[in-house]
C-alpha cells in the first residue's frame, strides 16, 4: 500500500458517527484487539492513513501516520541506525503505530529506556467534538498547554482517534550481548536491586524460573567490562524478541495470562500458577486459573496491579480504579468524548 493521508476520510467518518450517535470501534491491525473489554461499534479502520511524514535522523524525531505498520516504521529507523528505545511488542502481524500508542505497551528495555509515552513528543488527534487537532510538536521540550499527547498514550482509543504522532528516536547501541546466569529468582531479584545502583549497561533482565537472562547494551568498552564482571554464559539475543512477542514456551500454557506490574523490589510473589519475570522484576507474567480478586489482592499489597491478557476471562481485564479516580476518568471522557462514541467500555464499563 502507498503512503496516503486519509485523515479527511477518518474525520468524516467520525463526524457521521457523531451526527448519528453511533459508537466506533477504532482499529488498526487488530493485533491487540484481545486486550480490554469487547467494544460494540462500527469499525473505524486507520490503516489507509499511513506513511512516514518526516524523518530526520539527526533530529532524533520521526513523524508517522497512525495506520503505518509498526514493522515498516522499525525498518526505516533500523536503516538509519536508530530505534524505538521502548521496544513496543507487536503481538501479531500487521500491528500499527496507532495501536502501539493506544495500548501503550513497552518491551524489555522499558525500565532503563522509558515507555511508549516517554517517546511521544506530539500528536494529531480527531476529537469527540469532530475536529482534527494538533498537540505537542516535533521538539524535545514543549510545555505550552496541557500534555494531551502523553495522556492519549495507553488510553485505548477511549478519548479520541490518534491520527499522527511525532516520536523521539535514539541511536542503536554500538555493542550488545545477552547473558544467562543460573540462579534462583529470589537471588536474581536481590542481585538486580544491587546492580541497579551501579552504572552497569543492563538493558533487559528476565528470569524464567531457572536462570536470570540479562542483556547488555552500550559502547564496546562498557559491555565487554560488564560481561567480564557478571560472568554467566552467552545467550542468543533472540530471547528478548520471543519474550516480548510472547512466543516463549511459557506462553503456550493454556491457563489465562495475567500481566503483573509491581515495584521491582517486591520479592517473590506467592501466587498459584507459573510466573515469568521481565523488566528486572517490575513486570511479571502469570499463567494461572486463580480468580481476578485473589490475584489483585496480592498485587495491591505490594503496590502493584494486574491486567488480564486473555480475552473473556473476567469482566474488568484492567485493574478497577479507586472511586474518585474512576469519577475523574468518567468526567474526562464526558468532556473529550461527550457522545461516548470512541471505543465505549474498552477500558472500563463506565468509561
Amino acid at each position: 500500500m502507498d503512503d496516503f493521508d486519509a485523515s479527511a476520510a477518518l474525520l468524516e467518518q467520525v463526524n457521521q458517527a457523531l451526527a448519528q450517535g453511533t459508537a466506533l470501534r477504532i482499529r488498526g491491525g487488530d493485533s491487540k484487539a484481545f486486550l480490554g473489554r469487547p467494544v460494540a461499534g462500527e469499525p473505524l479502520d486507520t490503516r489507509a492513513h499511513r506513511g512516514i511524514v518526516s524523518y530526520d535522523p539527526t533530529e532524533l524525531v520521526v513523524t508517522v501516520r497512525a495506520g503505518t505498520p509498526l514493522a515498516e516504521l522499525e525498518a526505516a529507523l533500523d536503516a538509519a541506525g536508530q530505534m524505538l528505545s521502548c521496544e513496543p511488542p507487536h503481538l501479531g502481524a500487521g500491528a500499527t503505530v496507532g495501536g502501539m500508542l493506544a495500548c501503550g505497551l513497552s518491551g524489555p528495555r522499558r525500565p532503563w529506556a522509558g515507555s511508549v509515552r516517554d517517546l511521544v513528543l506530539g500528536t494529531r488527534v480527531i476529537t469527540g467534538l469532530g475536529k482534527q487537532l494538533r498537540f505537542g510538536g516535533e521538539v524535545m521540550k514543549n510545555v505550552a498547554g496541557y500534555d494531551l499527547s502523553r495522556l492519549l498514550v495507553g488510553s485505548y482509543g477511549c478519548l479520541g482517534v490518534l491520527t499522527e504522532v511525532s516520536l523521539k528516536v535514539l541511536p542503536k547501541p554500538r555493542a550488545r550481548l545477552s547473558l544467562r546466569l543460573e540462579m534462583d529468582l529470589a537471588r536474581a531479584l536481590r542481585q538486580l536491586a544491587e546492580w541497579g545502583q551501579q552504572p552497569l549497561p543492563i538493558s533487559a533482565a528476565s528470569h524464567d524460573g531457572q536462570a536470570l537472562q540479562l542483556r547488555l547494551e552500550g559502547g564496546e568498552g562498557s559491555v565487554a567490562a560488564a560481561r567480564q564482571r557478571l560472568g554467566g554464559e552467552l545467550l542468543d539475543g533472540g530471547y528478548w524478541r520471543d519474550l516480548n512477542e510472547q512466543r516463549l514456551a511459557f506462553f503456550a500454557d493454556p491457563r489465562p495470562l495475567w500481566r503483573l506490574a509491581l515495584p521491582s523490589t517486591s520479592g517473590v510473589l506467592a501466587l498459584p500458577g507459573e510466573q515469568l519475570i521481565d523488566w528486572g522484576g517490575a513486570q511479571r507474567w502469570l499463567k494461572s486459573d486463580a480468580e481476578a480478586e485473589a490475584i489483585r489482592r496480592v498485587l495491591s499489597e505490594v503496590g502493584g496491579h494486574a491486567s488480564c491478557f486473555s480475552a473473556g476471562v473476567c469482566d474488568s481485564p484492567f485493574q478497577p480504579l479507586a472511586a474518585p479516580l474512576l469519577r475523574y476518568h468518567r468526567q474526562l471522557k464526558a468532556q473529550l468524548d461527550p457522545q461516548g462514541i470512541f471505543n465505549p467500555g474498552r477500558m472500563y464499563a463506565e468509561v
Binding site: D56, P57, T58, E59, L60, V61, G81, G104, P111, G114, S115, L129, K131, L133, V139, M140, K141, N142, V143, A144, G145, Y146, D147, R150, L151, G154, S155, L159, P171, R174, A193, E194, G196, Q197, Q198, P199, G218, G219, E220, G221, S222, A225, P263, S264, T265, A282, Q283, G303, H305, F318, L321, A322, L325, L326, Y328, H329, Q331, A334, Q335, L336
Partner: protein, 499 residues
Amino acid sequence: MSILYDERVDGALPRIDKPALLAELRACLPDLDILHEREDLKPYECDGLSAYRATPLLVVLPERVEQVESLLKLCHARGVPVVARGAGTGLSGGALPLEQGVLLVLARFNRILEVNPAGRFARVQPGVRNLAISQAAAPHGLYYAPDPSSQIACSIGGNVAENAGGVHCLKYGLTVHNLLKLEILSACGERMTLGSDALDAPGFDLMALFTGSEGMLGIITEVTVKLLPKPQVARVLLASFDSVEKAGRAVGAIIAEGIIPGGLEMMDNLAIRAVEDFIHAGYPVEAEAILLCELDGVEADVQEDCQRVRAVLEAVGASEVRLARDEAERTRFWAGRKNAFPAVGRISPDYYCMDGTIPRRELPGVLRGIAELSAEYGLRVANVFHAGDGNMHPLILFDANQPGELERAEALGGRILELCVAVGGSITGEHGVGREKINQMCAQFNADELTLFHAVKAAFDPSGLLNPGKNIPTLHRCAEFGSMHVHQGALPFPELERF
C-alpha cells in the same frame, strides 16, 4: 495588553468577603498559619517573574495534608479561587497571586519521606528543593536527573507543575520522564494517587496530564521520583567556531554519529564575551560560537565518545577543540554557561529572555533570522542555547530608560517567538506559560485546541477555582489579542534574574 488578571477578557472572579473568609478559616483550621495583613502579604505578591505583582487576598502556610484538604473543601464550598505556590522561583508567573484568591504556599512541606536505594526512588513532600533530593540520594551513588538551573532553590512540586527541564534533558528527559507517583488533592479536596509504585498504573495516564499543568488541575501533596546511578565519569569538550552556522551543523553531526551527549550547550560571541569578562572560564573570546559537549557514563565508553566527538567537531570545521583536563576545568567550563544570564546582565542595563524551542535543524536559519531582526530593531541579542534539545534562550539587551527601547525589545521578542513557531517549534520549552506567555498561546494553538484544553480543565475543576487565568487563555482574550500585533503580548522583565 497587560498580563495581570483582566476580568474583562479572563472571566469574572467572585467577590470574596475577606473578613468572613478569614474568620471561617480560623474557626475550621485553628492551627493553620494565615497571613492577612498587607505588609505580611507583600513578600508573596510575585514569583520569579517579579515585574508583575498582585497582592493575594490571604496567604496560607499549611504543614499537614489534612489542612490542605480542609482548606480546599472550604474554598470549594465558598467559591474561593486558590493559587498554589512552592518556592516561587518560576519564571512565567505561574504562581502570580490573585487579589480575589487564597495563595496556598506549600513550602513547609519540606520533608524527604523516603530514599529507597534498592528501588531507586525517593518519596518527598512537594516543598523539597530539587537539589536536596540528589543530595539525599548521593550517599547511595544515586541522583535525581532533571536539573533546572534554579535547582538550589526551586521545589519539586513546582518542578512537576511546570514539567521543569534543565541542561541534561536530551539524554535524561524532563520531569515527566522521571516521576513514578503523585499524591494529589482535587479542586474539591479529594485525595487521589496518580501513577503508582510500579512503572505504570491502570487507567488514563493522569500523571502525565498533571505534569506541567501549572496548578490548574489539582494540588500536589507528595511526589515519588526515580533516581539514577550517578555516571562514573563526565568529560567536557569545548569547541570554538568562526561561525554560528558551523556550530549549528556540528550539533547535528554529533547526533548523526550516534552519540547522545549528557549536555550540549551553545553560546554566541556576545554571550561568550560577557561570560569571559565575568567568570574567566577560559572561553575563546574571538570565537563566533562555542559548543560545550558533556559526555557521561562508563569510563571506557566516554573515552571512546570523546574521540569520536572530537573527530566530528574537527571535520565540521571547529577552529579549536579542548577537552577539560580535570574536574576543576570541567567545572569552570560549566560555570561559564551557568552564569551566562547574570553575565549578560552586567553588559546591559536590562535584558529580556525568551524560552522558545525549535527543531535543531532549523538552528542556523533561526540564528540568522535573529541576527537580521537584531539589526532591524537596533538591539543586541546574546544567544544561549540548550543545543541538544532545541531550547533557545535569546537574551535581548536593552535599556528601559531609553524612550522606546522597551517597546522595541518587546516587539523583537515577539518576532523571535514567531520565528520559533513558524519553523515548527514552541513558545516555551521549560519556563511554562503561566501569565507571561498567555497571549502567545493564542499564536501557538487555534480556538478548537484551546477549547479542548478548557474541556480538560472542566473535567477536574468545573468551577475554575484552581489558579484561574493561567496557562490557557480564554477565547475572548485571544479574540482581543488577535486584533493586535502578536508581538506586543511579549513582555519585558528587566530586573528579572534568569538562568
